[in-house]
């Protein structure tokens, strides 16, 4: 099974929701659409499902053009952020409903419902009504219904966003396991980078109606092909600074210069955008070659085992995630260090020149 989008685009009232997009998804894969609100995640899913017809381009399912085919005629299941169940039906009947529509035998239905309920830990609640369940159980019921449908394409639009943090953590760990067994194509929209990483599979980062990169999730995270992808796929946000290379030295626009070592050595002279992740910033000098910055400490946040430092580096806001509990004075000047092998280099237009060397070493 495969789903192919060929130059698919969507314009609504003169506003482009989706720019022409190409994408190929294969069966048995988990595909995450990652991006902030209104990046186009839901719009793209609706085009995949056939809920909306694209203005241009084709949707191809198993080699067959299904552009414009009604969603009812396709094997598609969708789960939304809002838990959608039939309130007057029992959990059993809710899960069974798509199979009844397909006029399957009651024996087939019974087997499938019990299997899905078992996977979703709903077996003890089959006789209850959805509103007698907790939020997490209600969403499990909606997920179970998507599962029994035996759909080739399952679309999950921020399905855990309305659940408690801890419950989200547990369901998120279960979802990939369940879907590995099922063999369909799964598409999962989220605004949270950490969720994408935990789900694994492939990730398409989205920004303003475009897919900025698509590939294996850890690869997209570690080797973003442009600054937009790096920005979308980082929480806390990636830190950026402008650098100028001339000859053997690098300038950071703050009167500081350092030797152009490592990945910087091979750069042509000119201006670049450098990016690095908060957890790579350090308070203690890690190595002789480390780059050194002085910044003003704005706020600290302690998570219990780590400390977030929010820094002002000559007008750029940086976040550092430091291991351990640090009691630092707000407003003080702080010296921070960065290993050059952890720095991503982008051209001024955001195109990646070189991913951080650590990211390609593994």
């Amino acid at each position: 099974m495969s789903l192919v989008l060929e130059g698919v685009s969507k314009v609504v009232n003169g506003l482009t929701h989706i720019h022409p997009t190409d994408l190929e998804l294969k069966s048995g894969t988990m595909n995450v659409l990652l991006g902030p609100t209104s990046a186009g995640k839901t719009s793209l899913m609706r085009l995949m499902a056939g809920l909306d017809a694209p203005n241009t381009g084709k949707v191809i399912w198993n080699g067959k053009d299904v552009t414009g085919m009604r969603v009812q005629d396709r094997r598609v299941a969708m789960v939304y952020q809002q838990f959608i169940n039939y309130p007057s039906m029992t959990v059993y009947d809710n899960i069974a409903s798509p199979m009844r529509l397909l006029k399957q035998s009651s024996k087939q239905i019974d087997t499938a419902v019990k299997k899905a309920a078992d996977m979703m830990k709903l077996s003890p609640f089959l006789d209850r009504k959805p509103l007698e369940l907790s939020g997490g159980q209600q969403q499990r019921c909606a997920l179970a219904r998507a599962l029994v449908k035996d759909a080739g394409l399952v679309l999950l639009d921020e399905p855990l966003a309305n659940l408690d943090y801890k419950l989200r953590e547990e369901l998120r760990a279960e979802i990939p396991k369940i879907f590995e067994e099922a063999g369909s194509i799964f598409v999962y929209a989220t605004t949270e980078p950490e969720e994408a990483l935990l789900l694994g599979g492939n990730t398409a980062t989205m920004w303003e109606g475009r897919i900025t990169q698509f590939g294996l999730t850890p690869i997209v995270y570690r080797q973003p092909i442009n600054a937009t992808t790096a920005r979308v796929f980082s929480d806390p946000p990636m830190n950026f600074l402008n650098i100028t290379k001339s000859g053997e030295s690098l300038a950071f626009g703050d009167d500081q210069t350092t030797a152009a070592a490592g990945a910087f050595a091979g750069l042509l002279d000119g201006d670049y955008l450098a990016g690095f992740r908060p957890n790579h910033l350090e308070l203690d000098k890690p190595a002789a070659s480390a780059m050194k910055f002085s910044a003003k400490l704005q706020v600290t946040e302690i998570t219990g085992s780590e400390t977030f430092v929010h820094l002002d580096h000559h007008g750029d806001n940086w976040v550092g995630l430091i291991h351990g509990i640090k009691n630092l004075k707000i407003g003080a000047d702080l010296t921070v260090f960065l290993d050059p092998s952890l720095v991503y280099i982008f051209a001024e237009d955001g195109t990646s020149i070189a991913p951080a060397s650590y990211a390609t070493a593994a």
């Binding site: 605004t191 950490e194 850890p218 929480d235 957890n279 706020v299 946040e301 302690i302 219990g304």
Partner: protein
């Protein structure tokens, strides 16, 4: 600003509560110090909203008293409590400009216009909305509207307390960082007593000086983020705080030795003889993988690369155990044991932490 005291407080939604189970909020005594930032953390249904509603005056408790600076306000309505509240969804007057929205609580109380102008300017600078002060609120995004709600909550300097009820739920992750940092600097600058209700541990831990963890209608621990991380007083705190939460393993303990499913390990500190359900609690951050004969035998089930570290899901005699490994760590197939950092080992009897005996 005020100190808030909860004295012998409890609440039941039933008319005639008779058993402890009838109480949505079990009896509690708690002091909230003047000028501190607190987070109230727990899952849905744990009683945190009930507690917040009692503090704000939306609900009168079935038992006990609530004091603001030792003054009994138990039966006082919300309007007399002099508190500011920010809710999950923005509450903004769409037809007013941002400036008028921010000025509203001050104008309502007849403050001096010169003071209002200066104060609104100061708050606008804090929330980064100086350039949009003269725009109507209607045209703004949800994020911007919630910033106005936060700013308006903060505009009065004379409030007894500021209450936030899941204020960042509707906000995108990147903007959450920005707003939370602003809240934190506002607290640093103005020193309000703040109570922040959330189910999100990251928000709670990063925002608060002290976190109050609630479970099943009870406050199970009030402590600094570091205390909650290092010495959870209840297994629920161990589970709820941390991603993944604390590993809990059934153990038999006598003195400084623990036996877990037949394997003995040394605890480095004595616990005497314990009764009830005895468990060892060790966070994934204090658990590491190794190979050889030392430690508990495990089977690795799955390795999740979450970017800044790896989460290794392993199995110890049928009990799931999680290990956090460094970003670049090699997880080799011959790793078949886990060992604990003694500094991170806690002991629990019937879910409550047992302090080690001082030698």
């Amino acid at each position: 600003m005020a100190k808030i005291t909860l004295d012998n407080l409890a609440h039941s939604y039933l008319p005639k509560p008779s058993r402890e189970d009838d109480f949505a909020l079990k009896e509690l005594n708690l002091d909230w110090a003047d000028g501190e930032a607190y987070a109230l953390l727990g899952a849905s249904g744990c009683g945190k909203s009930t507690l917040l509603n009692i503090i704000s005056g939306l609900l009168h408790p079935s038992q006990g008293r609530i004091l603001f600076d030792d003054h009994d306000v138990t039966m006082a309505p919300t309007t007399q409590r002099n508190i500011a509240q920010v809710f999950q969804f923005p509450v903004v007057y769409d037809t007013m400009t941002v400036r008028d929205n921010l000025a509203f609580p001050l104008r309502n109380r007849g403050a001096d216009p010169a003071y209002i102008a200066a104060r609104v300017q100061q708050i606008a600078a804090m929330i980064g909305m100086e350039s949009t002060l003269d725009r109507k609120a209607r045209a703004l995004t949800a994020d911007a509207k919630q910033k106005i709600s936060l700013g308006r909550g903060m505009v009065r300097e004379d409030v007894n307390a500021l209450l936030f009820d899941e204020p960042l739920t509707v906000i995108d992750p990147h903007m959450k960082w920005e707003l939370r940092t602003q809240l934190k600097s506002l607290h640093h600058e103005f020193g309000h007593t703040m109570i922040y209700v959330t189910h999100d541990q990251t928000e709670a831990l990063t925002f608060a000086d002290k976190v109050v963890v609630m479970f099943d209608g009870r406050v199970v621990q009030m402590g600094t983020p570091q205390e909650l991380f290092e010495t959870p007083e209840h297994t629920f705190v161990g589970y709820f705080i941390g991603s993944p939460g604390m590993n809990l393993l059934d153990a038999e303990i006598s003195g400084d030795k623990a036996v877990l499913a037949g394997t003995e390990i040394s605890l480095g500190k004595g616990f005497g003889t314990l009764s009830g359900k005895v468990e060892l609690g060790v966070r994934p951050e204090f658990t590491s993988l190794t190979s050889g004969d030392v430690g508990l035998p495990v089977t690795i089930k799955r390795v999740e690369d979450v970017g800044r570290h790896k989460i290794v899901r392993a199995d110890f005699q049928g009990t799931p155990v999680n290990v956090i490994a460094k970003e670049g760590a090699e997880i080799s197939p011959d790793m078949n044991r886990i060992v604990f950092d003694p500094a991170g080992v806690n002991v629990y009897a019937d879910s409550w932490r047992v302090a080690p005996k001082v030698a």
